[in-house]
Each structure stands twice: as C-alpha cells, then as structure tokens.
C-alpha cells in the first residue's frame, strides 16, 4: 500500500544540474513481490554442483603417491643391501624383514605388546589433553597468568622430551608413572597452545556478533569462543599426539617396567639379541601406527574444514 507523499522534487529541480538523469520507466506490474528476481539471482550465484568422483577413485588418488613413496624407499633399501655395505645379519634386505614381520604380526604375543603400548599412548594423550585444555583455558582467561605462563608453554614445547627422563625416573622410579609423566609433559603444552591461539584469534567480527547477541560469560564460551577455536585446537591435538607418541617411544626404550612387554621393550630385546631384522620390523610397526593415527587426525581436520568452508572448494 504505497502512500502518496507530496513530491519533494519541486524544491529540488536544478539542484542536480551536473547529474545527467536517466529516464527510467516506472517499475510496474512486473512481479511486484520480486520473488522471482530473488530466487533467480540466488540460483545464478550458487556455484553449480561439480560431479563427485566415486569413493574408489578418490581413495586411489590419495593412495598412489604414498604407495610410490614406499616403493622408492624399499628400492633404495634393497640397493644398499645389494651393494654389500654391511653384512646381511646387520642390515637385512626388505625380503627378510617383511617375511619376519609377517611371522611376528601373526603371534598373539605381538598384539599384546601393541595393545599395551597403545593403551599407554591413549591414556597419556587423554591426560595430556585434559591438562592442556585446562591450562590453556585458564591461561587465556586470566591476563596475568597469560603473561606469566604463555611464554613458558612455548619454551616447554621446544624441550626434547628425552631430557625429562632422568628427572622422571628420580621422581617416580622405573614405573608407568615415569613414562606417563614424560608423555604428558611432552604433549600438554601443544594442546594448551592450540587452545590459546584458537581463543586469541577468534575473528573480531564474530566477537562483535556475540556482543550484539548479548553473549556473556559461560554462554559466550559455549556458543562462540570454544567452537570458534576448534580448528586451532585440533591442530594442537595433532601436534600433541605427535609429541606424546615420540615421548612414549623414548620412554619405552629407557624405562623398562618389569613384566610390561611393550613395543619398545620388544625392540630393546631384539637389539640385545642383535636381531636387526626384528628391530627393523618394530620400526615399521611404530611408523605404521604413527601414520594411521595421523590419518585419523587429518580426516577430522579435513571434515571440519569442509564443513566450515575453509577449503578452496
């Protein structure tokens, strides 16, 4: 219901003299609601859907470079063996090692070791995440803490975890606790750092939106700060995992808890028996576990990026 206002143009004629006024026909009758214009524009602006490749194709595309890398490494290894640089019993070839590996992984004993090591890794990592998150949240919340502890956390991250073992052994003797201590102290700073930088870099416009929507205190954390810091937190977790896995492997070689036949202990035993092939087998096992877990973190990271539209697509 257009309301007829008296024309104000009477007083304005000539005021826009330099401005050439285009004569435009009045918009009448054509789709007065403008609905078609709006949805037409929306349809034009939305990117056309690209054909998704099927799952097999996508897996193959991401897998072949990795398979090629493995093939290259095995080939170089084989060439070194063929060159007789070291005797066979010191540096066995891939053939020997892979057949040994096949024997090892079919024993229940081996899987007990893997289970023990993974339980340690996951427990240590979970504790590190809990502690790192608490410390990170506290540090980012209180400015004085932030100034005091912020740089300390970064310093801790650069510290090689193996340096902690002498102290850990003095504090906890040769025990699970000594290993846990080092795993946690290795991983927690990365987790805390991930959270802190996530909270620090919540975009200003989002914070303003939060303000406009009246978010305060807990609600602000629940609905804005925590979700917004998620990508950074996940990279912190990923880095934390890498540190805890390294610390754990160092720990299992140094702190041999009686009766606990973990992967590290088995590797140490193989070395004591001068069984190079078995040592390499365990190296491969540790590598494979590391890669598998990294794949999990990457999958989580990619899923998040895709959901948030942080990728180029």
């Amino acid at each position: 219901m257009p309301i007829k206002y008296p024309s104000a143009r009477a007083g304005l004629e000539g005021a826009g003299g330099e401005n050439t006024v285009a004569e435009v026909p009045e918009k009448v009758g054509v789709d007065p609601q403008g609905r078609d214009e709006v949805s037409g524009l929306d349809a034009l602006e939305l990117a056309p859907r690209t054909e998704q490749d099927n799952l097999g194709k996508r897996i193959w595309r991401s897998a072949w470079p990795k398979l090629l890398a493995i093939a290259i490494v095995v080939l170089i290894w084989q060439i070194v063996v063929w060159s007789k640089w070291k005797p066979d019993y010191v540096l066995p070839g891939p053939g020997t090692v892979f057949s040994d590996l096949g024997d090892v992984i079919t024993t229940g004993d081996f899987w007990d070791g893997v289970r023990l090591t993974l339980i340690r890794a996951l427990t240590g990592f979970a504790l590190a995440v809990a502690i790192g998150t608490l410390v990170g949240a506290a540090v980012s919340r209180f400015a004085p803490l932030r100034a005091a502890i912020g740089s300390l956390i970064t310093g801790l991250q650069t510290m090689p975890s193996i340096m902690w073992f002498p102290l850990a052994i003095l504090l906890f003797q040769i025990s699970e606790s000594a290993i846990m201590f080092v795993v946690i102290i290795g991983a927690a700073p990365s987790v805390a750092n991930g959270l802190i930088s996530g909270i620090d870099y919540v975009p200003r416009t989002w914070l303003r939106v939060g303000q406009v929507l009246g978010m305060k205190g807990l609600a602000k954390y629940r609905h804005l700060i925590l979700p917004a810091s998620l990508p950074s937190f996940i990279s912190g977790l990923k880095q934390g995992w890498a540190f805890s896995w390294r610390s754990l492997m160092a720990g299992e070689l140094l702190v041999i808890v009686p009766g606990a036949l973990s992967i590290g202990v088995r590797m140490q035993q193989a070395r004591d028996l001068s069984d190079s092939s078995l040592v390499i087998c365990y190296i491969i096992v540790v590598l494979v576990i590391g890669i598998l877990i990294d794949v999990l973190f990457n999958a989580a990271d990619n899923a998040l990026r895709k959901r948030w539209g942080l990728t180029g697509s």
């Binding site: 257009p2 007083g11 826009g16 401005n19 435009v24 403008g34 602006e45 609600a219 609905h223």
Partner: protein
C-alpha cells in the same frame, strides 16, 4: 535546517514515537593531545517505524554512532536515550558462524533467550521464509552467495526481535545487481515487519533509495550538517529521476564537506 520546507505527515499506524533520541552526543577516543573527537554534539531523533539513513564520508563517525546506539560503546557526553528498547546490529560482513547451519545461525539468538527447540525451529523457518531462503536452512553459510548470507544475517537480526535494527553498510560488499535487489527486499521487510531502521552508508543513492530521512554527517569530527526528508513515493528505484536528482544534490553537499578537509 532542511532544503525541503514542507514537513510531510507520516503514516499513522504505530509511527510517531521517538525510539532513539540523541541530544548533543559526543564521543571522544583517548585523551590529552592524542584525543580524537569522533562525534561532536550530535542530536537526532528516530521515530517508530522510520527508516533513517546516516550518510557521510570517511571519518564521520557513522559506525561509532551505531556502536553507541547498540550499547557496544559508551558516550563521552550528552544524552542517548533508546528507552530500554532492544537493538540488533548488522555489519558489512554477514559474520555467520561456520559451525552452525543456516537455520542454526538464525536460531542462535532464540537459543540464547532460552526458547525451546520446537519453537525455535518453527520461528527460524518463518524468518527464513521472510528473507526468502526457505529450503536453505540445512545449508552451511559458506555454501551460500554473499547476498544470501547477508539475508541470513538479516534473519538472525530479526530473530532477536529487537525494536530497532541498526545496519552498518550491510550491502557495501555486494555487487550492484545484488544490492539493488536487496534494497527491494529490505524495504519490503521493513514495511511488513514494521521495523525501525538506522542505516549507515557512504553510498548517497542507496541512502536516498531507502531512507525516509537522510542525515548528512560532517567528517572529523562527525556533526549533523543536514537532515533531508526523502518523500518520493515508495517503492523507489535507485535509478529513478527523483532518487538520482536528490542524490546529486546531496552528493554536492557531501563533496563540499570533503573538500573542506583539503590542504
């Protein structure tokens, strides 16, 4: 002081009450020799149902003014009275949260108010219908175009059920075609929802296209230098002779103001 002498009567329904009143509002950032006076004794009144555009060159404190009205910032002196009314604010960026779906973003203000899930969902659907985005609720913000995201932001602002909608160059980042269509949309929603809008822009034609009044601000410090009633019949077109003519007049005034800062 206005160039148009006859003050036109406003339509009767619900209009006429002052919902925003600023009297001699000044805003100063910093103090001493570093002090920056952003707004200098600004007085203006926005009435219920009115669409007021604030226009000015850079440094006129338009955005500062909106922040003050929104309560995001405190005035240095003067009186600012919005009678305890609720305001919502829209920016140039849609600033939707990527961890929520489109509907989730619209529901968020309701969620913060403690509205139940079923009610929330229903209301979000209605709001998306208002901005003509029914069926897009399940999408992620990044899957929409800039114009669509801005409409989601509008739906989110409407979800706050505020009395006053503040808009800070909301269409500044959009292409001309999209902006043109969104002007029609905003005008329609403003009319249907009986909104009071305070709209900041540096685009003169946009201001004349949309506003009941265009308030021209000077720069550094921001002062009200002119208050133009825009009385052309709605719906208007941005390229109609009336809008262009008045825009040209206001542009001249704005240019004179900008030129004052030369040297």
């Amino acid at each position: 002081m206005s160039l148009v002498e006859t003050q036109t009567p406003r339509p009767v329904t619900g209009r006429g009450d002052a919902v925003v009143r600023l009297e001699n509002v000044s805003k100063q950032y910093g103090s001493g020799s570093n002090a920056l006076l952003a707004l200098d004794r600004v007085s203006l009144t926005v009435q219920q149902g009115e669409f007021v555009c604030l226009l000015g060159a850079s440094g006129c404190g338009k955005s500062t003014l909106l922040s003050l009205v929104a309560g995001l910032d405190k005035i240095t002196s003067g009186t600012l009275d919005i009678g305890g009314r609720h305001v919502s604010l829209m920016f140039q960026e849609a600033a939707l949260f990527p961890w929520l779906s489109v509907a989730g973003n619209v529901e968020l203000p309701l969620r913060l108010q403690g509205v139940g899930k079923a009610e929330r969902r229903k209301r979000a659907e209605e709001l998306l219908e208002i901005v003509r985005l029914s069926g897009f609720g399940h999408k992620r913000p990044h899957e929409l175009s800039g114009g669509m995201r801005q409409r989601v932001a509008l739906a989110r602002a409407l979800a706050q059920n505020a009395d006053i909608l503040l808009m800070d160059e909301p269409f500044g980042a959009l292409d001309a075609m999209t902006r043109d269509i969104l002007h029609d949309e905003l005008e329609r929603i403003w009319r249907e929802q009986n909104l009071t809008v305070l709209f900041v822009t540096h685009n003169v034609r946009e201001a004349v296209r949309l506003g009941d009044r265009v308030i021209l601000l000077s720069s550094r410090p921001g002062r009200v230098i002119e208050d133009y009633p825009i009385t052309h019949e709605r719906p208007r077109r941005i390229d109609s002779p009336e809008v262009s003519g008045q825009a040209a007049e206001i542009t001249d005034r704005l240019r004179a103001e900008v030129a004052r800062h030369a040297n």
